[in-house]
Each structure stands twice: as structure tokens, then as C-alpha cells.
Subunit: 343 residues, 2 copies
């Protein structure tokens, strides 16, 4: 069923060279023979062995996605599926594969060196960058092309990234809440060492300062963004003497938990308590249709996946001097979850 180049060329009574060239679009082959070759290839169901091709060309035709797996935090980022879907689209178009590697965060360096040596990817997408991100100098050093989904704050060398403007998004969201008269705004953020969480916090504190509001450390939270985290935190806060009137949340999932706590407390979202969340526009978790459930800073993570992949593929065959970067703005969409602060 499956033929290899040798068999195909024998069948065509041509050399492997010619067949190879015919299929790869080289000019030095007669158009007529090319047609013949292509037809035969299709008929005999020929498809080049990717390993052999890789060996010969030095290109793996595959992109690696390295997913940090923490021993502390067992969570799988819910955003991952959509990101992959976006990236996968770009890879399919270009004939690339996508290979996933789980890397525990305790011996990252070894893992990345291994990836390099194994040589089964032409480039990497780096997920979940922390504020201080040793992988960036490491990969630069290893001379393997990479694009970071997100950014790292402390990086000396330039590197390629695709990120959303987290700071501005949360600045706008905070300002919007302040304009509605909210003074006590809780920030339910992601893990502290994650870069996006840091930037979002910066946006929040910035806007608070601009609005002349004090940041109460007792209203700042950062953890793995689960539903239950949102629920517990909000439940706790709402039971306090002087509860916040608004919540700024880093993920829809967590916001759903916050909302549940609000309901449980017998309060009404949008009237008694306001919520703004970041919305990654996940396919299975759309933020309402005509009327958004939550007021949100929205940016499609699927698109980010597509753009990251495209960028990386571009880098691989262009080898640009300076690494490209791409900043995506999140839009602030107004839904039912926000209203004037109760007096």
C-alpha cells in the first residue's frame, strides 16, 4: 500500500533524483514527466517518510509546544486547547506537525537541551512565561527559533513574542469600575510569578492611583485560576465587614466562581456587586451572545495561537535580524455584570 521513493521511481523507470525533484517542484524536470510523477505518486499513495526527509534536509517540519507542568500546581491551562487549535491551523497550511512535550519545571534546562539534541522540531512555542524567564536566554543560547506566548519582564536579549496588552486592558477595566463609583475593587488574579498576572496588577494599581484610590492589599489575590478559587475568595470577601463592591478577575472560569459566590450570598451581580473579567474567547465558553454575561476585556487566544505559529514559521525561513513581536489589544466589552457602585 505504502510505497517509498525507490519503489515509486522504479515503477516510473526514473531515478530517485528525478522523482524527488519532480515532486518538490524543482525546475530542471520536464513538465510532462512531472505530471506523470505526480499522478503516479497520487495513485500509489506515496507520501515521503518524514524522518528520512528530516534527516536529509536537516529540517524536522515540526514545531514543538512545551507545556510547563508544575508539581505544585496540577492544573492544565484551559486556554491551551484553543491556542493549539489556532496554531494547528497555521501548521496544517504550511505542512508542519505540532509536537507537544510536557516539561516539569524542576529540570527545564535539561529538557530543552534534549529537545535541541533530538532535533525533532524546527522551533518552539513557549507557553506560560513567568516574570523571570530563564528559558529565554537558554533558547537564545541554544539557537533554536522560538516565540513566546506572552512576555517576560526581565529579559535582556530581544526575543519574539505575541502577547496581549494586559496592562492596558486592566487599566481600562479598573478605570471603568472607578468611573462607576467603585472604590473597593478586588483583584482576583492569576499566579504571582506569571508575567501576565504581574502586568495586570500593574494596570490595576496604575488606574487606581490615577483615580485617586488606595490599593488595599487585603483585596489582592493571586492563585491558579480555577472556578473554586473564584468562589472561595469572593465568598470570603463578601462575608467581611467592608466587602468590595467590584471584582476584577483574570479568567472567565474564575469569574464564574465569583458569580456563584455572589448568588450564594443572595446578592445580584451588576447591581450589588460588579465583575469585570478577562475573556479569552474560548470556543466552549463564550461570554454570552447578544448581551455578554460579563463585562470583559476580550482577546481571542485562538487568534494568538494562529499568529504565534505564523510568526514562528516566518522566522524559521526568513531568519530575521531582530525578533518580531506582536501586541494585541483587548477590547473592553460591556455586559450585564457591571453597574454603578451601590451607595
Amino acid at each position: 500500500m505504502a510505497v517509498n521513493l525507490k519503489q515509486l521511481s522504479e515503477h516510473l523507470k526514473l531515478s530517485q533524483t528525478t522523482v524527488s525533484r519532480a515532486l518538490n517542484g524543482y525546475p530542471e524536470v520536464n513538465e510532462e514527466t512531472r505530471k506523470r510523477v505526480q499522478a503516479a505518486a497520487k495513485a500509489m499513495n506515496y507520501s515521503p517518510n518524514i524522518r528520512a526527509k528530516g534527516l536529509a534536509t536537516g529540517r524536522a517540519m515540526a514545531i514543538g509546544h512545551v507545556i510547563p507542568v508544575s508539581n505544585k500546581h496540577e492544573m492544565v491551562n484551559p486556554v491551551f486547547g484553543d491556542f493549539i487549535a489556532g496554531a494547528g491551523e497555521a501548521y496544517s497550511q504550511a505542512g508542519y506537525e505540532m509536537v507537544l512535550t510536557l516539561v516539569a519545571d524542576d529540570n527545564e534546562e535539561r529538557a530543552y537541551r534534549k529537545i535541541k539534541a533530538k532535533g525533532n522540531v524546527d522551533g518552539l512555542i513557549v507557553h506560560g512565561p513567568r516574570m523571570i524567564e530563564p528559558r529565554i536566554p537558554l533558547l537564545t543560547d541554544l539557537e533554536i527559533p522560538f516565540v513566546v506566548h506572552g512576555r517576560a519582564s526581565q529579559a535582556d536579549t530581544g526575543y519574539a513574542w505575541v502577547d496581549i496588552n494586559n496592562k492596558r486592558a486592566f487599566q481600562r477595566a479598573t478605570a471603568y469600575l472607578a468611573d462607576l463609583g467603585h472604590r473597593r475593587i478586588a483583584l482576583i488574579n492569576g499566579l504571582e510569578d506569571m508575567d501576565f498576572a504581574y502586568r495586570r496588577r500593574a494596570g490595576y494599581t496604575d488606574a487606581m492611583a490615577k483615580a485617586g484610590l488606595e490599593v488595599d492589599p487585603a483585596l489582592l489575590f493571586s492563585e491558579e485560576m480555577t472556578e473554586i478559587y473564584g468562589y472561595r475568595t469572593a465568598q470570603d470577601l463578601l462575608a467581611r465587614d467592608n466587602p468590595p463592591t467590584a471584582f476584577l478577575v483574570s479568567s472567565m472560569i474564575t469569574a464564574i466562581g465569583v458569580r456563584r459566590a455572589i448568588d450564594a450570598a443572595g446578592l445580584k451581580m451588576g447591581r450589588d456587586v460588579s465583575i469585570i473579567t478577562h475573556d479569552d474567547d474560548l470556543s466552549y465558553l463564550q461570554n454570552g451572545d447578544s448581551v455578554p454575561i460579563f463585562t470583559a476585556t476580550r482577546s481571542s487566544v485562538r487568534e494568538a495561537g494562529y499568529l504565534s505559529a505564523k510568526m514562528l514559521l516566518g522566522m524559521i525561513d526568513q531568519k530575521p535580524e531582530t525578533p518580531p513581536t506582536r501586541m494585541l489589544e483587548a477590547e473592553l466589552i460591556i455586559g450585564d455584570s457591571t453597574g454603578r457602585a451601590p451607595s
Copy 2:
């Protein structure tokens, strides 16, 4: 930085053969030299080129996960991330890679043949089996080892699968609701052609019959399992003259939507309306902690991922006569979302 076998062997003043054998644990090499080789390999950061190795051995040391991408339904299964995490664990342990391929559902056959010919995977995990699943005979025919996550109802040949007992789970859930006095139970199911949805429906109708209840076709729904689908459907149902008193839902995400509709209607979940959902035990969406939010049929998809991967790896090096199968039972956990039917 990165050395290859030739360089390593030259440095050691040994032949490539010996070095290769030393590293791969063959007996015909002196223990002392083996130690020397291992030490040098580590020191020189040697890691075999996986493509060359694959070419030579005929094994790719990689497992493919084929994700069906529908043009109609843009959704990425939220369950996917956790499944991958579980499978990835098994692969890491065994030194395997995981490669993802998105396959549009319009020309599956071509795609799978290509995968076979490219030869970059030793086996496949098949996701999202439909009731009638042409991929099963196809892959059997192509002689590529595979494990199906789920089952297909119409398959003549034996094939390996890991699945949960969907029918029994929904049977039990339905019976539980019937015992609580519910007569009008809505089924908010997944897409009809999906095999799991079919089995769940079978469980539901079975239990309804056993409880002497009539199945009202107007209470059966099947769609892509998004939050908004749950919301809309429930909202619609609750506005009817004779609304259901209970909802049986195929996914937590959708159940969250149902819950939102219940809240919006001014009703109380667990008192006015009951919900039982299936719970895949996703890491970012835990069903409460001490007290589950939803009464649910629970089964960890992450574990399913791990087991599927293990099974496939086992098949690859054992080549069993009859394909293994593994049925996982879902446990019924009782939460706050169910109560006696209002009278």
C-alpha cells in the same frame, strides 16, 4: 555544544557501534567502558537524533493524537487539555513524544493514509468517536496500532478502547432523579452523532422506562456542549407552560449555563429545579470541594488519558492478539444541585 554519535565515539576512541550499544544497554559491552561512555555522553551533552534513530529502527517513538476539526463546529473540546496531560505523563515515562494533528472531517481517509506513510508515529489515539466510525476499519486496515478514547457502536472488528460506562452513568443519574420524584427530566446532551451522547441517551431512556416514565421528545436536546447552549436551552424550557423539574446535562460547562438560566428565572437550583451533570473532573473546573456544586456522574478524563496512552504503548511492544479494552465506571456523587421534585 550538541555532539552526535560520531563525534562522541571519536572522542572516546571507540567505534560508533560500541558507543551505541553501551548507551542502549546491550550486554556485549564491558561494564567499565559502558560507564565511561555514559559519563562522556552526559558530559558532552549527547542525545541521539531522534529522526536518525527512527529511520534506523523503524520506530518513531511518538504517538499521534488526531483531533477532528469540524468545519461546522468550531469548538475545541475543553476536555482535551486534561486528557493530553494524562497521556503525556505516560509518554514521558516511556520516552515517547506526542504529536498532534488536526484533521478536518471532510477528507479523513487521506489524512490518515498520509500519517501512515509519513511514518512519524508508532500509534494513534483516536478522539471523539462517532456512532458510525469509519476510522476504525480504516486504521485496522492500515495496520497502525490505535486506541479509541470512547467507543463506536457500529464496529465489526475488535479494536482497543478506553471508555467510561456512559450508559450506566446516565441510567443511575436518571433513576436517582426519578427516585426524587421528578417526572419531567430534560436531557441536555452532546451532539447526536457522537457515540457517548448516544449511549447516554440510551441510559436515560432506559431508566425512564424502568421508572415508568414517558420520554418527552420535547425535552431532549443535543448540541455542542457550550455554556451558552445550556443557558439558552434551559431558559427556553423554563419559560414553557409545563417546564421540566430536572435537567440531566452532559458537561459541567453546559451545566453552568443551565444553572445561570435557573438563577435568571429567579429559581433556586436544588429546590425548584434539579441538575445532574457529567463531570470530567477537569483540573480547572473542580466540582466544588467538600460539598460538590453539582450532583454528578464523575470520571477523570485525565486518568482516561493516562490509561489510553499506557494501553497503546503496551500494544506497540506486545502486539496482543485481541485488542485490549478498558471500561471505567463513573461514580455518582451527590451535591447541592438535586432535591425532591417540587409538588
